[in-house]
Amino acid sequence: MAEQTIHMPCTEEQVRDLKAGDTVILEDWLYGIRDATQIHMFDHGRTTRFDLNGHAVIHTAPNVKKVPPSNSCPAGYESICVGTTTSQRMERFTRPLMAQYGVRMIIGKGGLGEESRAAFREFGGVYLAIIGGTAALETTWIEQITDVDLDDLNPESLWEFKIRGFGPLLVAMDSHGGSLYDSVKQTAQDRRAEVLAGMGVGA
């Protein structure tokens, strides 16, 4: 269960080294992406001017304040509160994000499914679990919003963040088929009958 710091963007080799249960801290760059962003990119044929190759994306739609562009807020947005949303809804976009844009890491909460696991294995990617609902803490890891694209979808724009000490994040799905969610699911399934019997169900 190693902990390491990774400066973004990263290489396939760095990602393949990560195993489920490891923790990582990301530095430098991170991109925010969400339902509408990906629906427009992959269903409506829109593209982004950002180079996401080797980067991490986080499932988010931040609270921001529109301000005049300055050195500390170059995109004209001050970050108020940046948190993470449930990943499962965006399951079908993992593959195109990796295949078309070269994304290597997806940060979210609650885990992703089989199709994502296959994509992580095939292209070399990982799912990093953040603790959902801890946005106040997460916001302290964001230095600034450096750029924004597809901003007509605000707050579901494509956000570029400068980050510092972003984590620790837990490698919950790795590129070798490992998934922490699977073992939890199996445990619950194994205990179900006993739990129901304990309440007198079927007695």
């Binding site: 988010t60 609270n63 509160c81 106040a136 939890v184």
Partner: protein, 291 residues
């Protein structure tokens, strides 16, 4: 008592912001209780991060979670409270809108078909305003709940049949908690509605999930079910964030209603660990803000 609508608007704004930043004391106590009993090391570290976040949010006066939710206002009008109903709803809506534009907050509300966001946290029939009445003399209560989508997407209804009995209800709740796993941001309060019509059952589940920790269902049969189900769901090993552990739910809360001889409805509505809630009580002596 004549209700001051300017005060209602200001309070509707204040409660939305307060709810997003400060967790009620019963939820904070719930975290301490889970932390003390949790045996899984990873789960303990997840709980520690959540507890740290509560402190960081208060220290930095920031939002606990980025999801500003769907704004819900539950109002209870006591006896001899004089107010124009439509103006009251307008004042609440205005306060909700001002919280969003003046703080500013992320508007999480879109048109259901066009998906257009008006950037006000308002839209058709939103904020949700539920109106009830009470016996309390010259008292007006307003409860504000920003309901996050991760947990609201964990909402289910099953029109069980009488032959399925209470077993059908118990099985449905356990299966839904398993199905949603970490997606609903556990540890949660699992709200369960039992009985009524389909819409009432769903509404009761929402009411149950939003109840303060430590409160007990008024119906003794519902209270028994709460004890059994609270114990049961925490044996599944789902844990905080679905990463394993004992702390799957703070509690299962149940609300009941009479139902039809041919019906046995059960609904589940989940409240995430960021179980946000704020309350104001208006009396002739002033406005008291709390949880």
């Amino acid at each position: 008592m004549k209700l001051d609508l300017d005060a209602v608007e200001e309070t509707a704004k204040h409660l939305y912001i307060q709810a997003l930043k400060i967790l009620p004391p019963d939820i904070k106590a719930g975290f301490q209780k889970l932390d003390a009993s949790e045996t899984n090391p990873l789960a303990k570290s997840v709980l520690a991060t959540m507890i740290k976040n509560i402190d960081v949010a208060e220290d930095t006066t920031n939002l606990l979670c980025q999801d500003t939710g769907i704004p819900i206002y539950n109002i209870v009008i006591g006896r001899n409270v004089e107010v124009d109903g439509q103006s009251l709803k307008d004042a609440i809506r205005k306060g909700c809108e001002r919280a969003t534009t003046e703080h500013p907050l992320r508007s999480s509300v879109v048109h259901p078909i066009t998906r257009v966001n008006e950037q006000t946290s308002c839209g058709i029939r939103v904020p949700v305003i539920n109106v009830d009445f009470s016996n309390a003399e010259e008292t007006f209560e307003m409860e504000m709940i920003p309901k996050g989508s991760g947990s609201e997407n964990g909402s289910f209804l099953k029109m069980c049949i009488p032959a399925e009995g209470v077993d059908g209800i118990k099985t449905f709740v356990v299966d839904k908690v398993m199905e949603v796993g970490g997606r609903v941001c556990p540890p949660t309060i699992v709200g369960v509605g039992v009985g009524g019509t389909s819409d009432l059952c769903t509404k009761l589940a929402k009411k149950a999930g939003a109840r303060a920790l430590g409160s007990v269902c008024d119906d003794p049969e519902g209270a028994k079910l709460e004890v059994a189900l609270s114990d049961a769901v925490n044996q599944l090993g789902i844990g905080p964030q679905g990463l394993g552990g004992d702390s799957t739910a703070f509690a299962v809360h149940v609300e009941t209603a009479a139902t039809h001889i041919t019906m046995n409805p059960v609904a589940v509505n989940i409240m995430c660990h960021s179980a946000r809630r704020a309350r104001a009580t208006f009396t002739p002596t002033g406005v008291e803000i709390g949880f």
